[in-house]
Amino acid sequence: MLDSLFSALKAKGTDGLAGIWTDEKKLIQAAHRLREAGFVKFDAITPFPMHEIDEAIGIPRSYIPWVTFIFGFVGLAFGLWFTWWTSAYNWPLNVGGKPMWSLPAFIPVIFECVILFAALSSVGALFVSAGLPKVDPPVIDPDLTSHKFALFVPENDRGYDVAKIEEIFKEFGADEVKKAEF
């Protein structure tokens, strides 16, 4: 039963062509070449972040800081409202003659709300942007999380042509070129 559940939930990939390298420098050159050839949907699969890749593929700066900022602000607004609403509006209690709306004393709690909202929303944005969680997504090669590097061009990319892509992969010394689902 569990097996059928797993296969029902299994994430679907797109068919396409993958080139696999052990030398990441060649992969970056191949990525530049693919981009010049007009491909836009291709991506690199690497075991660790490589900053040259962003430029080679044309990945823009992540939008997530905006999410963090906006939700940090929401946290601030929530903290201000909640401390006011509970302490000064909904059930005001006189504690040691202090004002009902004791803003300086509420700052620590409001600050923690800002941090909590900003942190959890950033993680939420990561989940959305990276499509997490995925059940059992297709894997091109298990070594791509260890010591190999790949470029993958999906078949729905602009001007997808197996022969042309294979030629580019071979030109930059790919160790392996294969049709794959990813």
């Binding site: 075991p47 909640f82 202090k98 950033s122 944005a125 942007s129």
Partner: protein, 453 residues
Amino acid sequence: MIKRTPLVLGKKTYQDVTNDICSLVEKVPGPKFFASLISVKALFVFYLIVMGMIVARGMGLMGVNNPVNWGTDIITFVFWIGIGHAGTLISAVLFLFRQKWRTSIARTAEAMTVFAVMTAGLFPILHTGRPWLAFWLLPYPNQRGPLWVNFRSPLVWDVFAVSTYATVSLVFWYIGMIPDLATLRDRAKNKWRKRIYGALSLGWRGTGRNWNHYEMVYMLLAALSTPLVLSVHSIVSFDFAVSIIPGWHTTIFPPYFVAGAIFSGFAMVVTLMVIVRALVPEFKNYVTIGHMEAMNKIIMATGLMVGYAYGSEKFVAWYSGAPYEQYVFMNRAIGPYAWSYWLMVVCNVVIPQLFWLKSVRTSIPLMFVISIFVNIGMWFERYVIVVTSLHRDFLPSSWGMFHMTFFDFGALIGSFGMFLFLFLLYIRTLPAISISEVKPVLNVGHEGGENNA
């Protein structure tokens, strides 16, 4: 020109790094590990029994009473929260400062944070005396009015600070682990191993677009954790500083507590890393003497800050001209608890000075002993703050002494059982060194990049 010291020894390739770190999780551990696990588990079970008896019979089993109504629970809470702070400092603050040497110790330090905060969190709940009503600390709609918590109270600030800290630390630790869990998933031969690590890795794929967002979130979490960690121990210190008890009501408390927290936490990281290096010899290539030396330097620096705070407290007490304030500090140094005060000074200020010598900083047995002394000293620092201030305040008619019972000692010692049990389980089930962070720094200190296979 000054050469950089290599961060990873032994000319490792990317594949070697994966193999070294994953194999620990993949093979059946040896007898040394099982012996350690069973002994800390025995201590953990003892802890559960002690806690259970305190919950069942009540707080009367512990030494707290008038006038010392904050005792072992609060001392040990502050101690464990402080331990956690070094983990965040290594994983977040050193990350923001681009200190590459942090990569191989950050994961374990962050794990230490999570487990230390878990251990710490139980103490205030136990201290409430009726832990089954601990949810009253949270503001939730209720049928008593609704009666809300008092947001003016530092104790409520503490609830918010510690729970936010626990949540954000756990998330930061877990997000950092996702790519490495995917590595474990892809290496798994066994179906269930593949499923468990596959589920934990959330189906991570490591594309360029994924990494782009991932690195941004990692940096944002580091940037959010940094003010958070400073706020947490500042707020813990407000528990004391906002009251009007002489010896507590001082403005130096927040920075003093934060420096002490980092000091004690780094000592705990050194203690744990010495144990890890002994249990897992392969890790000596990743957690090198250079790493240990860097941490010892931080211990020495923060030890000096703590020493400065002790001196500053004394000076301000004298300079204030307030007789009660002056009395408390005289009483700490020459009163009935002078032994604990001088134990604290020797352990925290005098002994770490040995780290001025490079031979001491780079000697594993010596740094282990010194780090244990710092841990003891920092527990006694909180003991001095809590007990000596409460036991003699304004009216001599309400003076008294604090006597620890078997249950105080049991809760204190047992908490190490819980912490170490979680830590040993972590070492064997999760990637204990960040695989995807170590690989980009393999070349540091190796000339010409020939290490990059």
